[in-house]
Symmetry: C2
C-alpha cells in the first residue's frame, strides 16, 4: 500500500513523546536579503543531532512484539546509525549496526554508547550489504533501511508536519535530497496539508543522482559521490524515487562551492551548528537561484553533526 500523508500523521502520534519538538527559527538578515519570510525547522537540535531519529523511532515503534524480540538491524556510516541505536535503546530492542571500517571513531563510539552491537565491514556497498545479510540470517533481526522503508520516511515527515503546524501556510518548502527519505516524508505531509505548496528538493552537484535519474526516468544507483555533504551521498531508494517522481515540484542542483558559504552564513548569523547536508537546502536562498520575493518559505535543516575536533585543535591557547 502506498504511504500517504495520513501515515505521517500516524507516525507523529507514535513518536511525539519520544522526540524533541525542535524549534522553528528565523533570521532577519536573510529575510532582508531574500525579500521572503523564511522559517528554519531545526533538526540539528533533534536527539542524536539529526532528523534521522524521527524515522528510526517510528520504525522501531511500529514493530510487532515478535519482531521486537528479534532486534533491528541496519548499515550506516553516519547519522542513521546513532539514530537507530537510540531508538532501539528507548524501546528496549537490541540493535545491530553494520558500519564501514572507515567510519569516524567518534561515530562508532556514539553508536556503541547507545547500546548497539557494532559490526565493522569493508567500506563498500557490497561489504555493507553482505555483512548485514549475514547478521540478518544469523540473528533473525529486522532490517530497517535508512531511507527507503516507509516506516522510516513517514516518520521523517513529522519534521515538516511540526513546521506547518507552527507557522501555518507556506508557499515553498526546501529540503535536502540524499537517499530521499526526508524529502519523501516532507512531500507526503506537505501536499496533504497544503495542497498548493511547492516542494523543492536540493542536492549537490557531487551527488546529483536524483536530478539525473528523474531526467532519465529511471533511478541511478551506480555512481561515485564526490560531495562534501556527507549525508547526501546515498542513492535514492525504489520507494523514495517513486514518491519524488510523482510529487516533487522541482529539484535544484547546488554547486559544491556554494555549500560551505551557506553553512558559514547560518553559523555566523544564526549561531547554530548545521552540517553541510543542511546547508545544501539553504544555498539556493543565498545564490538567487530561486524567486523568493514575498514568499513564505520553510527550510528543513536536516542535522548538525560536524567533526569539530580539527577546528578546536587549531584555536591557540595563549600563554
Amino acid at each position: 500500500m502506498t504511504p500517504s500523508g495520513h501515515d505521517v500523521l500516524r507516525a507523529r502520534e507514535r513518536i511525539a513523546d519520544l522526540i524533541h519538538r525542535t524549534p522553528a527559527l528565523t533570521c532577519s538578515t536573510l529575510d532582508r536579503m531574500t525579500g521572503a519570510s523564511v522559517v528554519f525547522k531545526c533538526e540539528n537540535f533533534q536527539k542524536t543531532g539529526s532528523f534521522k531519529f524521527r524515522g528510526a523511532c517510528n520504525a522501531v515503534a511500529s514493530l510487532e512484539p515478535e519482531e521486537r524480540s528479534r532486534g533491528v538491524l541496519t548499515h550506516s556510516s553516519g547519522n542513521y546509525a546513532q539514530a537507530l541505536a537510540l531508538a532501539a535503546q528507548i524501546h528496549h530492542v537490541l540493535a545491530y549496526v553494520v558500519m564501514p571500517e572507515t567510519a569516524p571513531d567518534v561515530k562508532v563510539q556514539a553508536t556503541a554508547g547507545y547500546g548497539a552491537q557494532i559490526t565493522l565491514c569493508p567500506p563498500t556497498h557490497q561489504g555493507r550489504h553482505d555483512t548485514a545479510e549475514r547478521i540478518r540470517k544469523e540473528a533473525g533481526a529486522v532490517f530497517l533501511d535508512s531511507h527507503d522503508d516507509p516506516r522510516v520516511f513517514t516518520g521523517q515527515g513529522t519534521a515538516c508536519l511540526e513546521l506547518i503546524e507552527e507557522v501555518g501556510e507556506l508557499d515553498l518548502i526546501l529540503a535536502p535530497v540524499g537517499g530521499g527519505g526526508l524529502i519523501s516524508g516532507t512531500l507526503l505531509v506537505a501536499k496533504h496539508l497544503i495542497p498548493g505548496v511547492r516542494v523543492i528538493g536540493c542536492e549537490p552537484t557531487g551527488a546529483d543522482d536524483a536530478a539525473r535519474g528523474l531526467a532519465r526516468g529511471e533511478r541511478i544507483v551506480d555512481f561515485t559521490p564526490t560531495t562534501i555533504a556527507d549525508g547526501l551521498r546515498t542513492p535514492l531508494g525504489e520507494n523514495t524515487f517513486e514518491i519524488i517522481r510523482q510529487r516533487i515540484d522541482d529539484l535544484i542542483v547546488i554547486p559544491e562551492d556554494e555549500i560551505l558559504p551557506a553553512m558559514q552564513f547560518i553559523w555566523e548569523r544564526m549561531k547554530i551548528v548545521i552540517e553541510p547536508s543542511s546547508a545544501v537546502a539553504v544555498a539556493p536562498l543565498l545564490s538567487g537561484a530561486l524567486e523568493t520575493k514575498g514568499q513564505r518559505i520553510g527550510v528543513i535543516l536536516s542535522g548538525g553533526n560536524v567533526d569539530l575536533s580539527a577546528f578546536f585543535r587549531s584555536l591557540n591557547i595563549p600563554h
Copy 2:
C-alpha cells in the same frame, strides 16, 4: 544613587520591544553528568550576537532628548561596538565608536554597517581614552562606558530577569566576569527576585583581576590579560567592583585549558555557537569544581561571536 534590582525591571520595560527574548535551553547529557538541572540563557542569539545589546539599548533609550541630539560615544574592540552602534541606529541617534587599529576588519565593518562613525586609534588603553576624549570634546557626544555605566549594566541584567521569569526558582546562577557589567546586572536582579540564590562569577586565569582584586580589597586595573576569552580582558569598573564586592557569593577562576573543551562541548552537544567568554561560565560544570547534585542552575551564555573564517577555509571541498 546606587542601582538596584528595580532598575533592572525598569530597564526591561524600556527595551522589551527592541531586544530578542532569547531562548532558555537545556542539555540532557549535561544534566546526567552533573546530577543538576541546568538552564542556559542564550544571549548568543541576541541581536548583534551578545548580551551587550541589552545594556547599550537601555543606555540609549534612557537619554534625555538633548543628549540624544549630541550622539553617543564609546571605545570598544568587540561586541559592545556593534551593540551600541545598532542601539543608536534604532533610536535614530548618531554613534561614534573608537576602535583599536588592530580590531578584526569584520568587526569594524559590522559596526560601520549599523551606521556608526568609526575612528581607529592606537591599540592601547591610553590611545582609546585619548581618542574618545577628543571626540567627546569636539562633538559633545555622550560617553557610554561598555560596562561601568549603570544604564548599561542594569540593562544587561535583563537577561537574568528573563531567565528567572521563564524557569522560576534557581539555586545557583553562573555568569562570566570581564568588565563586570553582566555579573553586576545579574546580581542586582537575581538577589532581588530570589533572595536565597547564590550567584557565582567565573573568570579565566588569564584575566583574574576580579578574584585578585577582591582578595586584596581594591580594584586591579594594571594587568596584561592573556586569556583566550577575548570578551573578558577588561578590568572591572569602579561601580561593578563595588557591586561585586558587596553581593557576590563566590568567584571561580577557570584554568585556560578548560575553556575550549567547554566551548566544544556546547557546540557538539547543543549545536549552538558560543564564544570562549561564554564557555568560561560552563567550564565549572564540567570540571567538578562545583557541587551541583540536585541543584537548579542557570548559566548566562554571554555571546556567540567567533571568527569562523579559518575553520571554513580548512574544510576541503572534494573534487
